[in-house]
Symmetry: C2
Subunit: 338 residues, 2 copies
């Protein structure tokens, strides 16, 4: 007989208890009495992230404010769009594109340098209505990889395009391309130079993502990344691997992950959260806790998720995760550490 | 509350009944009385596939025999290796490499032509002990993509390499590269020429794969493909997407898929089989039936799987699937259609 692994479930229960407390606090801060019982009344919900990992709490106040402002700006655009009745698929694409345009995050404009001193970007988007999805990897000249992923979803019968072929497709569908110079950000360049000297001396990961439930009850997820600082060999992480870094299914949840990509691939994290909800009947918070705390190693990263009932999970086992969440009940928060 | 989807479960029950009958027949043919109750005594088990899809039953007898002989040869090598106590990870790599070397299947030597008249190969391998895995995509010059996937697993901390970068890695680890001419097979060329004329006029998919349980109780899965005839834009299917076309977990099963890759990505088929076993406690056959018959569309393809208890599932919803299966109880079969 199959050996049942109770560890994730135990973690889920503990996690659920902790989470109830955290969310109760958040509701209090917002002057909102919503709790678990109020969840079904959520008309729309949104969560975003700008990466998880070693984010030093000693970060200068200016920098903190800069991140918080950018997350808030993206969250506000998403909130307004969902409140206006826009489809979740459009909203997650729009919000991720905003985060791609910021030099702060490792995606789009702020993408890290590869070992060859280039930039290679990956992205994925998924529609929870029909499980249709689009993913792209190894892009060198596409300004907003999430727009290209969306075109793969919308304009083709395929799911996943990689490398120069994907850029030919970008030209055919009119997705903007740029010179590699566009992605030059001094901070990323310095980070790469330090990485060339010694490996692992600082956090090298980073991603942006958004998940949303719209007024029609449809879920969508989008994730974009510049990958790993100093990466070689056309290394690709979890972001464009549907089921690992990105998944959405109207029956369960929309999930976007960030962290040590290889671990998220091995454990098929995004789909595992969906599967625990589908086959064990757990809520999105409990399912996310079961995977992040029960299956991954400490420090691996985290995820954002919106359940089909509008409940939001922001779960990570790393030092911090740039994140934001909002819903139609008035909940709205931006945070970096616990 | 979450809406439970009973459709896969209903299919699983029907599937389980059909399957019991099929396997009982197979056992009889082999003069073996093994049945469900004998499963736990299996010391090792192996299943292989050479693709699923529209395989015309009108195929000439010579051609049938050629396929059957090649499948039998690969199965025999795998059986001997497992009986001799070789690790499942080595065995699935070896068996898939044999199938790659045959011009009959769409993988390695027999890889189909892309729209540009080239060959682009993908492969993945996964170790059920620790969920470590290796995947490669968009290779143009690697003779045996499965060997490169194995090197990614064994020699790096990464999981997934794509495009020219992956070929640089091949040189560094000494995996054989060949000129594109090596992949020239007249039949594939003719198929491509017909595909250039009109789309969908024949089955364009194809894959090879192997899954095994070894004497130490370890599971492993490997899959390799030449992709889609006439494909463009660096299109990648489910094979190198861990969780879609390939997955292995000692607690559940080793799974290798074949068929309409995009559908296998959207439904995260390989990991879904594992998740149904893990979270619902179903056996490998029931879990495979639930996904192939309950979630995919008819004609999408199939999968082979070996459960942690040594039970084997060969499930497809297409016209046929080139396949073989054997275990330590004496079971040994090769088949194409139902």
């Amino acid at each position: 007989m199959q050996q049942l692994n109770m560890r994730p479930i135990a973690y889920a229960l503990v996690g659920a208890m902790c989470n109830f407390w955290l969310f109760a606090c958040a509701a209090e801060v917002d002057g909102d009495a919503s709790s678990e019982t109020a969840a079904p009344t959520v008309e729309w919900a949104l969560a975003i992230h700008g990466g998880a990992g070693v984010i030093p709490k000693t970060m200068e106040e200016d920098k903190k404010q800069e991140y918080a402002r950018m997350l808030q700006a993206a969250l506000d655009v998403g909130k307004e769009s969902l409140a206006a009745g826009e489809p979740s698929l459009d909203v997650v694409e729009k919000v991720v594109a905003m985060l791609e345009d910021s030099p702060l995050f490792n995606a789009g404009k702020g993408a890290v340098f590869t070992n060859a001193g280039e930039h290679e970007l990956d992205a994925a988007i998924m529609d929870g209505r029909d499980l249709n999805c689009g993913a792209v990897a190894g892009l060198k000249t596409v300004k907003n990889p999430i727009h290209l992923a969306r075109q793969v979803l919308t304009e083709t019968h395929h799911v996943f395009f990689v490398g120069p072929g994907a850029e030919v497709f970008a030209d055919e569908v009119g997705v903007e391309r740029v010179e590699q110079d566009y992605f030059f950000v001094q901070r990323r360049y310095d980070q790469w130079q330090r990485a060339l000297d010694k490996a692992k001396e600082e956090d090298k990961h980073g991603t942006v993502g958004a998940v949303a439930l719209d007024k029609d009850g449809n879920l969508a997820a989008a994730t974009s990344t510049g990958g790993l600082t100093n990466k070689r060999y056309g290394r690709v992480g979890d972001v464009p691997v549907i089921g690992a870094g990105t998944y959405a299914n109207n029956r369960t949840a929309a999930i976007s992950c960030t962290g040590f990509g290889e671990q998220f691939i091995r454990h098929n994290v995004a789909h595992d959260v969906s599967a625990i909800m589908e086959y064990r009947g757990l809520g999105v918070q409990e399912a996310a806790e079961a995977v992040i705390h029960g299956k991954l190693d400490k420090g691996d990263g985290g995820l954002i998720a919106v359940g089909h009932d509008g409940s939001i999970a922001l779960v990570f086992n790393s030092e911090g995760m740039f994140r934001g969440a909002a819903d139609s009940t008035g909940k709205s928060e931006v945070a970096i550490w616990q």
